[in-house]
């Protein structure tokens, strides 16, 4: 793990001048209390707080631009903050500075039902958006679990359980309004299917973790609510059988919306936590199918056939919403079930993505590593994408325990890279995976650094994240 070392005041000037100017200009919408600064000092990953000097709550693009111009002139870091659900210390103010909280930029600006798109301010959360879409027959499918803001999801290129069918933020952001490092608002992309003329700036900014520009508005693709949703669950004798079932389904082009894998450790935790009946502590797949009534029923049946060919058992499926929620309960409560395994412990979440044929091996080798270290770490996988998550439970009072967890996460990244995968499929680089990024990309990191330098020459946008600026 890369330690979060600040670059002590190199070229940084007058933070206090910026703070004063913001207090004067924004009054109660600029806050310097310790409690608020602390709340903005970390995401949902490891706590390791790094406090900004001030938190400011702009209301529109012009205010964001004005704040960035102020920071640009004074070379003060500026960090965008949604609701703080990121996991790799993306929002930690490593060098202090100004945190822009988008809480007051939370309006759905337009919903174009006929065009299947909408435009939102960065502070709109995905649950809020879906609530506002009620009655339109449309929905926004990307679901990373947390009720993140759309701005944060775009900045981290979020995906989640629905990616198999609907893609990730990469495929679903049509355009952006971005405030550049010098405080200029620009528009990228548009409402047309094909991205805007010129380079694909939209996709460069999506996933740049606030280091290339501050996203203020997002144009999003929407989807028609499926006529029918069915859910299914199936247990397997071993991980390999579960993964082979998924591979067979993908080959047959069964349009599964979600395929989630819980390993036996996680299932054991879920059975106890959610008081499930009829399940064993065995690798388990959770499916969801979206489509027409006839289609989703057929898909579930086909899935059962494939699963049974691969040793699947206890197959259950339903189309009724209440029953669906019950079937998926274990998956929905997985994180809390994992935490409940070791009361008093904290979770250190990490993720990796490998070619699907390597998934079982990668998970099993990681499991062996966890056992060697005497740790507990349930595994949940978005198995259709070869992506899996490890929740390492460590004792926060024991530094050696945390080091063990960090070691396992580091080796998990290396293992995924060696298997032709990536050190992160969802969580991102943030602060924690800078070393892994270099391991994965080699010299290409130099070009990423050049991009960072080109778009943010004074390194004020979320400094210390995403790309290491020094060898």
């Amino acid at each position: 793990m890369t330690t979060a070392t600040a670059n002590p005041a190199s070229g940084r000037r007058d933070v206090s001048g910026v703070v004063d100017a913001l207090l004067t200009r924004y009054g109660a919408r600029a806050v310097t209390t310790r409690a608020i600064r602390e709340q903005h000092s970390h995401g949902e990953g490891l706590a390791d707080p790094a406090l900004p000097d001030v938190v400011v709550y702009p209301r529109d693009n012009d205010e964001v631009a004005a704040i960035v111009r102020l920071c640009h002139a004074a070379r003060v870091p500026v960090i965008a903050f949604g609701v703080g659900t990121s996991l790799e210390a993306h929002v930690a103010a490593l060098e202090g500075g100004v945190t822009i909280d988008f809480a007051e930029m939370n309006r759905v600006l337009e919903v174009n039902v006929e065009d299947l798109d909408c435009r939102v301010q960065a502070g709109v959360t995905r649950e809020q958006l879906n609530a506002e879409l009620k009655g339109t027959g449309l929905f926004f499918p990307i679901d990373p679990g947390a009720n993140a803001t759309i701005g944060g999801m775009a900045a981290t290129r979020a995906s989640g359980t629905n990616a198999v069918r609907y893609g990730t933020m990469r495929e679903n952001v049509m355009g952006l309004t971005v405030v550049t490092a010098d405080g200029t608002p620009i528009h990228t992309g548009g409402r047309a299917r094909k991205s805007s003329a010129g380079y694909d700036l939209t996709r460069l900014i999506v996933g740049s973790e606030g280091t290339l520009g501050i996203i203020t508005e997002i144009q999003l693709r929407l989807y028609g609510l499926p006529e029918s949703i069915t859910a299914a669950v199936c247990q397997f004798p071993d991980l390999g059988s579960a993964v082979r079932t998924v591979i067979a389904a993908m080959q047959m082009s069964i349009p599964v919306a979600r395929i989630e894998l819980l390993d036996d450790v996680q299932m054991d935790a879920c059975i106890r936590y959610s008081k499930l009946e009829g399940y064993e502590a065995k690798p388990t797949l959770f499916f969801e199918f979206h489509g027409t009534t006839a289609g989703t029923a057929e898909q579930a049946e086909l899935m059962q056939q494939i699963a049974s060919e691969h040793g699947g058992s206890a197959f259950a499926w339903t189309s009724a919403q209440e029953e669906r929620n019950k079937l998926w309960k274990a998956r929905h409560q997985a994180y809390y079930a994992a935490l409940a395994l070791k009361p008093g412990h904290q979770a250190f979440a990490t993720d990796a993505c490998v070619p699907i044929s390597k998934l079982a091996d990668c998970v099993l080798e990681t499991r062996a590593d966890v056992e060697r270290e005497g740790m507990t770490a349930p595994i949940v996988g978005h198995v259709g994408d070869g992506n899996f998550h490890l929740v390492l439970l460590f004792d926060p009072k024991d530094p050696a325990d945390r080091e063990r967890a960090e070691g396992i996460a580091r080796r998990c990244s290396a293992r995924a890279i060696a298997m032709g995968g990536t050190c992160t499929g969802e969580h991102g680089i943030g602060v924690h995976k800078l070393d892994a990024l270099v391991e994965e990309h080699g010299d290409a990191v130099k070009v990423m650094r050049a991009i960072k330098h080109a778009l943010d020459p004074t390194n004020i946008l979320n400094p210390g994240k995403t790309v290491p600026m020094h060898d």
């Binding site: 039902v113 299917r193 094909k194 006839a294 289609g295 978005h382 990536t422 994965e440 080699g442 991009i451």
Partner: protein, 358 residues
Amino acid sequence: MSDAIVDGWCARIRDCAAREAPVAIVGGGSKAFYGHRVDGETLDTREHAGIVDYEPTELVVTARAGTPLADLETALAAERQMLAFEPPHFAEGATLGGTVAAGLSGPRRPYSGAVRDLVLGIRVIDGHGRHLAFGGRVMKNVAGFDVSRLMTGAQGTLGVITEVSLKCLPRPAAETTRVFECPADDAIRRVNEWSGHPLPLSATCYVDGRLAVRLSGAAPAVEAAARKLGGDAMPDADTFWRSVRDHAHRFFERGSGEVLWRLSVKSTAPFTDFDGVQLVEWGGALRWVRGASPALDAARLRAFAASHGGHATLFRGGNGRDGIFHPLAPAVMTLHRSLKEAFDPVRVLNRGRMYAGF
């Protein structure tokens, strides 16, 4: 052998950068008409060809830039898979590298994704002559900036593409095309309405007063949708869609002095007569306009496209005096120049292909 070719290209680009001598990247030349003419020493990607890795169970293929698109598609078809963005060939000899560099997608694009959505990883040589890898062969990757997508459609101005990993999809089990006679505005209204329903649409095309709608998927779903939509069955639909994809359809035959514009707009943009004939694809989102050069006014077409959330490109013909690609806002242009500078400071790669200077 192939490594030696790439090493050779790296050395050449370093040498050209030292001499400030521009390099013109070429493949099969099938899209040479697209964009501004580039002068410079030719770098022919076709000597670096072949599929590097294809694992049908992974639904991922990795191939060298010079691989003929046709060869790649044949290899995928043998496993009943396909490139879901239905890449246009335009002419024989189109290469994978050129396809990704041009960033153009075919009829299936609105329903299965654009080329950039399906590019998982890419290898390029930058203007410093460094061979670099971005992304990889997995479906999800959030490690660092998304340079693979930036390269897609950058027309070789940011790097010479040497290798690409693409997501592929199983071929649909069944496919059928229905045809409807209707006026243009009615066609646009209908396809937009259908797009909001769970129908297995895979292409739409309105031309010559007829709307063609392709349905792809599992046989029962395709049959049910065909019954629901009505219309007449199109015989030999594959030939029709290939002709639309590759601009072999007679709509694309330009008379002397005629130009072809490509308007990318939101799908519900109203049908507008521009003193030319039109072919409408992508559920209304792509409008091809053909007509005589002075009558088709660049400013008018661009204003229309911009007011409907998109942009207009002078795709074929004309002298490009008004620019070929849609003008960029000044602040966006500044970012483009900065990016070009980051990848290719001496501006050796395909200089001027998109805009003045890059």
